[in-house]
Amino acid sequence: MAAEETHHVAKTFMDHLPVLQVVIPLFAAPIIVFIGKRSLAWPIAFAASAAAFVISCILLIQVLDGGFISYHVGGWAPPLGIEYRIDAANALVLALISGIGTVVLPYAYESVKAEIPKKNHTLFYACFMLCFTGLLGMVATGDAFNVFVFLEISSLSTYVLVAQGANHNKRALTAAYDYLIMGTIGATFFIIGLAMLYMATGTLNMADLADRIADEGTNRTIRAAFAFIVVGMGLKVAIYPLHHWLPNAYTFAPSAVSVFLAATATKAAIYVLLRFMFSVFNPSFVFEEWTLYIVFIPFSLLAMFAASFVAVFQTNIKRMLAYSSIAQIGYMLLGIAMLNATGLSATLVHLVNHGVTKAALFMGVGAMMLYSGSAFFNNLNGLGRKMPLTGAAMVASGLSLIGVPGTAGFISKWVLVQAAFENGWWIIAIAIMLSSLLAVIYVWRMFEVLYLTAPDPQSTAKEAPLAMLVPMWVLAIACIWFGFDTELTLGSARVAADGLLAGSAGMAH
């Protein structure tokens, strides 16, 4: 869709799609609370997230040619009004978030019944919808302060969702508290950065910010703003030294929440980081001072090795997957630090592929927890044989986590290695392969426990309920599908990477 065509006042239903996908789940949350019936909470939540998914798919198709859609909230034109701006980069992330949300909900139906007290179910789905809204909003919006508002909507509801695990293990409460403290510090750093940007430029619209920063050049205020924004968002992304909240939050949250968080929360934060680095501050600003090479490469390498190494020695499979997530975030940062189109598309593709892979793995663990009661390896002995379909889905997604050819994980690592060779960084390329070997070790430990140990004779485990199996297999098949058909993921990631690398020019009106 050409830019000129979209700059009119929204008239038809189709014109309202960018805001509708955020507004529908936003309204679903209070509706669920006001109706207050447990039996209606789930259908409303599912309908809202399915609607958001359909909308984000339509938007993705519209912007795949490299154009963008600009929506003016309330008819107020930017830069004064709030603008929603959909281009290939955020349409891809929106599709991931709403897709995962839609797939997680059927799974959550059974899982929540087993793990959360009945009286909390209605509020759980309301909270889930708020979290969903916040993530979609912070990705869809083109207004810097709006990002903060949606970031806090999603974060606050995430703390509540993580704390719901308290029924199972009281450590969920302290995990949620730690996350609250660190998340709030991160978000507050982010608005300090925005305050400085506003002081320097007098605007909060991202496209307008980009123009003015490009005109004015850099000064100390803008540089300080950049530092605050990167550190603040880095806390949300769980960049290696700022990752302390992540393992506990993922381990002690209810299974359905772990699935959703692992696949979406850090990914939305990475998108915001990308958007600010490349679109608001332009790439030459970010890189001419060498900050990214100095900061990002060592940290991402540390994350890839240290976090994978720690993952190898875990006794709790959820904690192992959490540390593996920190390692995978390292790959995504490495892609950003390469600063070429291939590296950026590797980041975006890995964002989607890893989201799908990790969600499938957490789903498998959650299904086994129905019978084992915990996620410790010793309690999962031989469950792969007792639950063949769940086990098979975990094998498929586990292979994708390693990056075996023919799976989604291979594609993103392949593109990342290509990007490293483009820069002539063959040492980094070797590091990527070596750290994948660490992934082989911890994924193998999982296979060993699931298949090669004798099942507990007293175990009552049987195949997971259909409502859990279907979402799990949808994602497991997606892991394999995206390993062969890269048209959708890699194709849109390349368009998005080109748009981001065009810097502020990519945001021009």
Binding site: Y159, K170, L173, I181, T184, I192, Y323
Partner: protein, 149 residues
């Protein structure tokens, strides 16, 4: 010779000094205090410092409240000679205050639940209980690396 201390600079930037002092006080309290409620108080001070930063940057020297005079017919006639303060940062901070209240109340609610589950709100005691829980897990399931604390 240049003055050793530029008083005009220091006094002219007094709002920034206040912001920095408050921000650092808040962050220090969050890090240094073991009591969970005191951590939330520190977090609050930290957030309020940012509100102050936003509000103070909206002030324009000699500026008055940004209310346009409206005559009886409802016709707005702004007087170009009057300087108005910038209302936008104030409006933004209204949103941030709401977020701050939500964070504080959620944090305190979590502390109530933590108190029920652990019977303490001192970080050291909680860490001790959790270390024991981890040690028990390790005895049962084998040692783990990277556990809590």
């Amino acid at each position: 010779m240049e003055q050793l201390i530029d008083w005009a600079f220091i006094v002219g930037h007094v709002n920034y000094w206040l912001f920095i002092v408050l921000m650092m006080t808040g962050l220090y309290v969050v890090v240094a205090r073991g009591n969970l409620v005191k951590k939330i108080v520190g977090l609050n001070i930290f957030q309020v410092s940012v509100f102050m930063l936003y509000i103070s940057i909206g002030k324009i020297t000699g500026g008055t409240a940004p209310i346009f005079p409206v005559d009886l017919t409802g016709h707005i006639e702004p007087d170009p000679s009057i300087v108005y303060s910038n209302p936008l940062p104030h409006v933004l901070i209204l949103t941030a205050i709401v977020v701050g209240i939500a964070t504080t109340s959620l944090g305190l609610a979590l502390i109530v639940r933590i108190r029920e589950a652990y019977d303490t709100i001192e970080e050291e005691d909680i860490l001790k209980i959790e270390r024991e829980m981890t040690a028990e897990d390790n005895k049962e399931y084998g040692a783990a690396m990277g556990g809590r604390a």
